[in-house]
Structure formats: C-alpha cells, structure tokens
Symmetry: C2
Subunit: 183 residues, 2 copies
C-alpha cells in the first residue's frame, strides 16, 4: 500500500514523515495514516507553529490532504487540524463533499470540527488522544459541549433572537428560487 504515499506527486513529503518511514514496515494502513496525523501534531509543536494536533483525510487508500492546527500562524480560530484538512481536501477534489473519505485525527474532534466533519459528509472518524487528554494539557472543549446541551437562555454566552419576520424573506426567496445548488 505504499502507493498511497508515493502517488502524491503534487504534495512532496513533509519532513514530519521521518518516524513513519522507520516504522511503516510493521504498520497497517490505518496505523500509517494515524501516525502521519501524529507526526504532523509533533512537528507543529517542534516548529512552534501551534497546538499538538494533526489530521489526515484519506480516500480510496490515498492521502487527499493533511494539516496541523493552524490557529496561531493563520490568525484563524477555526483552523483546527480537522477543519484545515477538510478545506484542503475539498480544494483538491473541487467539491464541498467528502463523501467516501475518512479522517484520521490525532485527537478526538471538538464540537466545531465534528460539525464540520458532518457537513463535509465524511464517512468515518479515526482518532487517537481523547478530549480528556486534551483538557489535561489546557485545550478544554468540554465547556462547549456543556453549553450546547443547555437551553439558550442558560448559556454563558448571551444569545438574543430578533427580526425573525424580516429574515424569513431570505428563506422564502431560497424556497422559491429555481436552479439553485442544494447542498
């Protein structure tokens, strides 16, 4: 299955692959993809690029895209490894759907990334570290899960509804428009 790695003509190997090459003879394909995600996470920390998170998206045994967490270097709070890899994979395929793809992520996805994985229609998630492991080193998304479970009026983040009548017009417009791309 080495073809999965060598076929990426437009994506030369990142330096992070060193540990993979040393170990790969004894690894399953699943393990190789996860090791790649872990290597991205470690490389990110070593290079001072950001948090210890990496994600790899695979289709038909081939790596489509991979990314570490890019929140700090990109000034983008949404640039978690999973979201970044999803965006890259979609660019690679030229579509907004990753149906038929699987994601390998070095840590259990947060609610934002889980949402992104669902919207991207990814088929399966493999993860390594747990959200409890992440909380122990200071990355705690538990409060987001708690907030999502609360009625809006009880959340820490204030939420106010207004102007629903005015906004319904946009939805009506969508319902009535022809030739739209449903997604």
């Amino acid at each position: 299955m080495l073809i999965a790695f060598n076929n990426e003509k437009r994506k030369p190997w990142l330096l992070v692959g060193v540990s993979l090459f040393n170990k790969e003879n004894n690894m399953s394909n699943h393990e190789k993809f996860m090791q790649m995600a872990i290597d991205l996470a470690e490389y990110n920390v070593r290079e001072g690029q950001g948090g210890p998170f990496g994600a790899v998206i695979v289709k038909d045994g081939m790596v489509l895209a991979r990314s570490a967490n890019k929140v700090v270097p990109n000034n983008d709070p949404t640039a978690h490894a999973e979201v970044s890899a999803i965006r890259l994979a979609c660019q690679e395929l030229g579509t907004y759907s990753l149906a038929g793809c699987e994601i390998y992520t070095s840590c259990e996805p947060c609610p934002m990334c889980l949402g992104a994985i669902y919207w991207a229609r990814i088929d399966k998630i493999y993860y390594a570290n747990t959200k409890a492991d992440a909380a122990e080193i200071g990355f705690d998304d538990h409060f987001i899960y708690q907030e999502l479970d609360l009625p809006m009026s009880e959340r820490r983040l204030p939420v106010v509804q207004m102007m629903r009548n005015e906004a319904l017009g946009a939805f009506k417009l969508w319902s009535e428009s022809e030739g739209k791309t449903e997604y």
Copy 2:
C-alpha cells in the same frame, strides 16, 4: 451611529445595502446590523451564490467583517456565513481572538458555527431565523445536535479510537515546550 457604516474606508458598501438605506432612519443600531446580515442572505440567493445565510461581526459599534454562506462557490463545507465572517474579522484584526466582538447572523448558528463562535471568544450572538425555520427549507442541522448528544458508539457516523499511546507524545511535547503561544 451612521459612523459605524461610513467609516469603513477599505470596505465599500456591498450592493446588498439598498434595503438598509431605505429603512435605517427608523432602525436601532442592532436592527441595522441584523438587516445587513439579512441583506447578505438575500443577495446570496438572488446572485445564485449559495444558501440564504448572512453574518456580520461588530466591534465597538463598527462592522469588522461580513459574509454570506460560501459553501458552494468556495467548495468549502465549513464556509457557513458565521465561520466565513469570523475568518475575515480575524484577518482584519490580525488576531485569532474576537473577544469584545458581537455577531449578527440571519439564522441560529449550527453546532459547527457555535463551536467556532466559542473558540473565537465572541461576546454575544444575535440571530433571526431559527434552526426550525432552516430545517423547513431543507437545511437541517438537527441530526448533528442529536449525534453530539449520543455516546460515540451509538452515532450514525462510525468513530474508532486507536494509537492513543503513540499520540500522547505530541501532548507531552506541548506540555514541556517553552515559549509556546497558548490560545
């Protein structure tokens, strides 16, 4: 408070503002910002650019960024209006934190966007249409909320844990690294 709109020297008015100019004399500032989000949503449908969703991010009474839903034109399943506006606002400020900002979104945020709003540290959410309204026109994020509430083993999307021991090394590396940017 017109200064909030006229001061944007680097961001000329979008054509979507026509309805706003007609109504603004009788509108509060909150209503003006929400109307802007609604206008973006309507404009998006009229121009065939994508779904009927718009979001505006405001700081100190000034519009920092705004975006409609860009999933289809950008081939990016994460490019909901809120996520896109967050990315733009962060680029504008040159930081990954939108503490001190408020978001006006034409529809109740989905779990992905809510997660993004929490990670971006936005202070307050204003929304117009509800997720039930969105479901009625075919945008149903209810299944994501349901999935998040289920234990992993019962979710429709298969999730597999593997190689936690190998991945913990990246977290250890982070814990021990000096000079890192905590976010």
